[in-house]
């Protein structure tokens, strides 16, 4: 049952990453598709849409990114690793994976520095946004947990005093 739940969690995560990637690329495609048509296989159809090949490539990359996340963020392989090190290792792995995919699938010309700079800018922005969102969510969750723990202890102490 627990394994089934894990599998569903991974599938949900793959679909999440895949969905967000497609959404972002669709927006980029709408605005710059025609201009980027000659540089990237992602935009061969111009601003009309994303080719099926590219969609499948994104699905594959989502599976790989989820695999990398599983590798570094579950204690199955790396038992004792600081969160900062895990994040850094994941970041490097995802950049390397994207580089490999870009080269294999012609997402952008890998021999042009400007393309890499653009990639790092986009990746950096996405990473900062997701880090900020994660931090805010974590802070909120932790605050909620702290308050709930405090409330539960107070309730328990109250019931002890009443029963004495």
């Amino acid at each position: 049952m627990e394994e089934k739940k894990h599998l569903l969690d991974y599938l949900a995560q793959i679909i999440q990453i895949f969905g967000i990637t497609i959404l972002v690329i669709t927006v980029i495609c709408h605005f710059t598709g025609d201009e980027a048509r000659d540089y990237s296989t992602m935009f061969v159809l111009g601003s009309k849409g994303i080719p099926i090949n590219t969609i499948l490539q994104f699905l594959l990359s989502s599976v790989c990114v989820t695999g990398i996340r599983f590798l570094f963020f579950s204690d199955k392989i790396f038992k004792k690793m600081a969160i900062a090190k895990r994040t850094m290792a994941m970041l490097i792995s995802v950049i390397a994976l994207t580089g490999i995919f870009a080269y294999l699938f012609g997402w952008f010309p890998v021999n042009q520095a400007i393309c890499w700079i653009s990639f790092f800018i986009c990746f950096g922005i996405c990473f900062i946004i997701s880090a900020v969102v994660s931090y805010l969510k974590e802070t909120m969750d932790n605050k909620q947990l702290e308050e709930a723990l405090k409330r539960l202890k107070e309730e328990q102490n109250g019931s002890i005093n009443r029963s004495k």
């Binding site: 579950s74 974590e138 969750d141 932790n142 947990l145 723990l149 409330r151 539960l152 202890k153 328990q156």
Partner: protein, 146 residues
């Protein structure tokens, strides 16, 4: 087993007397259950059997089919199995956090979210334990957090 109850107006505290042929495992368990009601637990420490107050317990861990009870400065051995202690102690805010561990929520200084939807629990002595994903949802439900 015969149970006799004598109600007397002149006694200030309840006295339970057990009459038995020998102090066997059944009697030990009976005493353990009575002690828990009185917020104490029978434990073994250096070959001595003593009653430990529940509020002193930080956490209980099962290692190699034996149950050990951790306080701020000592480790005691329990006579009960982990699942038995879980059932007996859950009313006193003791909660299972992973396959081998029960924590006294009264002695937790903080709970924080941890990687892979687990929880990082810091005890009052600054020792840290991790609640597995399987039990994290139960802890959140107990705390009233979705």
């Amino acid at each position: 087993m015969q149970i006799n109850i004598e109600i007397q107006d002149d006694i200030s505290d309840t006295i339970i007397t057990i009459k038995c042929r020998e102090q066997d495992i059944f009697i030990e368990r009976l005493i353990a259950a009575l002690q828990i009601i009185d917020r104490q637990i029978m434990v073994r420490y250096n070959e001595n059997i003593i009653a430990l107050n529940l509020e002193e317990i930080l956490y209980i861990e099962s290692v190699d089919k034996k149950c050990f009870i951790y306080t701020a400065d000592k480790v005691y051995e329990s006579f009960n199995k982990l699942y038995e202690l879980q059932q007996q102690l859950e009313q006193y805010l003791f909660v299972r956090i992973n396959k081998s561990c029960i924590v006294n929520l009264n002695n937790i200084s903080s709970i924080k979210t941890y990687i892979d939807r687990r929880l990082l629990i810091t005890l009052s002595n600054n020792e840290q334990l991790i609640a597995s994903r399987q039990y994290a949802n139960g802890i959140k439900a107990l705390l009233g957090v979705k």
